[in-house]
């Protein structure tokens, strides 16, 4: 199914090809998306960033995107962009890591930017957002808002990025509510509204009264709204889908970063680097805190401020794993970035087993 939308994208590319290159000096920029632009979440936010580039450099750039590209198809899609004169290519999903590196090796004069990965090359930079900072704030809110003391978490896959989010969320919740429990359901999909909604229903049936999600559609949020419970949006502000249920949402803000990187290419100053920005850098923003009492709201704002100024880190040590064993602290007073990026354990207080 995804291939098909991809085919449509490839077709659009082919059409782009047939247009004679009127302006040779225009910088051509390509994007590879994992979902449809209309997913309301992850891919939507990247596309907002792409449009920010067009606004920032009118007449000087040309952007193309290929949507719904599966990992298996990605190296062909990336190579296609590289072959058609795109000099800067953003690959916006973790799964594109190896394909990006593979294509990059064949096109040394093209610059690549891979989101959420950890492998770089001379012409491959990486960038990501400290999503877990927002998750911590969500945890604080959820810990305060829950009456049943059971919070639900809809995850996509048990990969480090999702696991780190769950842990950070749980640590935030525990910081205000020592009795809080968490139930985790993996949908085994990033985007399947029906299944995501069913996962939320399953959690609600188990007595959960606050849901957070790490999948891309607003379906879990809608289920919470229908059940009169609370939830958090994912990647973008989803208030319109659940005006009474959405407490807040992580908002991924890619635009400023994209604009900065395009400027670097235009100025000839682009270099491979690794950027992992959070609340302080503005790459992560929280959607308005809504549907909660003022004291909870204040707590959320204060927590956000503390993380921004560096006073608080979600993974401040000591951290204990499920067996109560203290996790080795490699980053001084907090876990090292590499420990967060490769996180493969649940923290103390989570009863579920991490699927391997």
């Amino acid at each position: 199914m995804r291939t098909i939308v991809k085919l449509a994208g490839a077709l659009a590319l082919a059409v782009g090809l047939s247009v004679p290159a009127v302006a040779q000096d225009k910088l051509k920029i390509g994007f590879i998306y994992v979902g449809p632009v209309g997913d309301h979440g992850w891919t939507h936010q990247h596309d907002v960033g792409r449009r920010a580039i067009e606004t920032a450099f009118p007449g000087r750039v040309e952007t193309t995107f290929v949507a719904s590209v599966t990992t298996a198809d990605s190296d062909r899609a990336i190579e296609q962009l590289a072959r058609t004169g795109h000099k800067l290519i953003f690959t916006t999903s973790f799964g594109y890591m190896e394909p990006t590196l593979k294509v990059a090796a064949r096109f040394p004069d093209v610059k690549f930017e891979h989101a959420t990965g950890y492998k770089r090359a001379a012409n491959v930079a990486t960038y990501s957002i400290r999503f877990h900072e927002g998750r911590y704030i969500q945890g604080v809110i959820a810990g305060k808002m829950t009456k049943s003391n059971v919070i639900g978490y809809v995850g996509a896959f048990p990969i480090p990025e999702v696991v780190a989010g769950i842990n950070s969320f749980m640590l935030g919740a525990q910081s205000v509510n020592p009795n809080v429990k968490i139930k985790i359901v993996y949908a085994n999909a990033w985007f399947d509204p029906g299944k995501e909604g069913d996962a939320a229903k399953a959690l609600l049936a188990q007595g959960v009264d606050v849901i957070t999600q790490h999948t891309d559609s607003p379906a879990p949020l809608q289920q919470a709204e229908a059940a009169g419970k609370f939830a958090f949006g994912q990647a973008s502000d989803m208030t319109r889908f659940a005006p009474k249920a959405q407490l807040s949402a992580n908002q991924n803000v890619w635009g400023p970063y994209y604009v900065e990187r395009v400027r670097a290419v235009l100025d000839g100053k682009w270099q491979s680097q690794d950027v992992w920005g959070g609340l302080a850098s503005g790459m992560l923003r929280m959607a308005p805190y809504a549907n909660m009492p003022d004291d909870v709201k204040k707590l959320a704002v204060d927590t956000e401020e503390a993380i921004k100024t560096g006073k608080l880190d979600p993974f401040k040590c000591p951290i204990f794993d499920q067996d109560g064993k203290e996790v080795k602290c490699e980053g001084g007073a907090k876990l090292a970035d590499s420990q967060v990026l490769g996180m493969n354990f649940y923290v103390k207080g989570i009863d579920d087993k991490l699927p391997k």
Partner: protein, 305 residues
């Protein structure tokens, strides 16, 4: 609401789109035509249904629009495979690609908008009955339509003259033609019915199940419905049971996770397909006695003089 009730309600909701789409395809295949374009027709139904319901403010208008959209797309398929006797497999796959693309085009203006979900039909007094109340009288209208469709399809195929005609055409179109039966006309009507059902199943997704539109929201349910037809060995009542099994497999593993029961969720996600393969094996083992596969399935028919 007890946990069991909650689980059963989710199973029914998950099974409904599969059942509606599969019943349509079942009739199509019983007439000897294989339409692999279910996923595309469902997607078009979902987007057109959502668009029409948003513009008119009426769910009924949305549902009707979805049904006609599904039929329109199936008419393209009918033109290719019945009119031009084109290869059904290739045409069906093309229909899926076309449908997914078209659905994105139609739905583009409606990305990010929402509708109120379709309400449940609740009968005062009966819905509040213990245990069975919510299970019998607490669903949205689509669930009851699916049930009526099952009864109707089973009755039509088994008990009516037209049903017999349709089945005999699907079994052997050359003999049926020789008997003077209208092969192409019957097949056209069957294909249109299949399209209508797929459109309706799509409308269920975007209007009731998850009331918003997003490209790719069918997420492979058309393919599961196709597998369901085979699993049901082309029998409407078995399709009902199969839809509950397929929907149940997906939903139960989610509930198992929520309850922290350590079941391998990936394996359970694959259960519908494994069940279909098992059903196919059982059917081919039993082929000596009688075959469930319509004899002319997938074969183009060109009437001779």
């Amino acid at each position: 609401m007890s946990l069991t009730e909650a689980i059963l309600l989710t199973v029914v909701a998950a099974a409904t789109p599969l059942l509606i789409a599969a019943l349509g395809e079942l009739v199509v295949e019983r007439a000897g035509v294989l339409n692999l374009g279910l996923e595309g027709m469902m997607a078009v139904g979902a987007s057109c249904g959502f668009a029409a319901a948003s513009l008119s403010g009426s769910t009924v208008v949305g549902v009707v629009a979805a049904i006609f959209a599904g039929m329109a797309l199936s008419a393209v398929f009918a033109f290719l495979t019945l009119g031009l006797a084109a290869n059904q497999v290739a045409s069906g796959l093309a229909l899926t690609i076309l449908g997914l693309g078209l659905s994105g085009l139609v739905g583009e203006a409606f990305v990010g908008t929402r509708l109120d979900p379709v309400g449940r039909i609740e009968v005062p007094g009966l819905t509040d009955l213990p245990v069975v109340g919510k299970l019998l009288f607490g669903h949205d209208p689509f669930v009851y339509i699916a049930l009526l469709l099952t009864i109707g399809t089973a009755w039509f195929l088994k008990r009516t003259h037209h049903g017999l005609v349709l089945r005999s055409i699907g079994e052997n179109h050359v003999s049926a033609h020789a008997l003077g039966l209208k092969v192409l006309r019957t097949r056209l009507l069957a294909v249109l019915f299949g399209g209508a059902c797929a459109g309706l199943a799509g409308a269920y997704l975007s209007l009731a199940y998850t009331p918003f539109w997003s490209p790719g929201m069918t997420a492979g349910r058309g393919w599961i419905a196709l597998a369901l037809v085979v699993f049901a060995s082309w029998m409407p009542w078995r399709a009902l049971g199969g839809a509950l099994v397929f929907g149940g497999a997906t939903v139960l593993q989610l509930h198992a996770q929520a309850a922290s029961i350590g079941l391998p969720s990936q394996a359970l996600s694959a259960l519908p397909y494994i069940a279909t393969i098992v059903a196919l094996v059982l059917m081919s083992l039993g082929r000596g006695r009688s075959s469930a596969v319509p004899g002319s399935l997938g074969m183009p028919f060109v009437p001779d003089r």
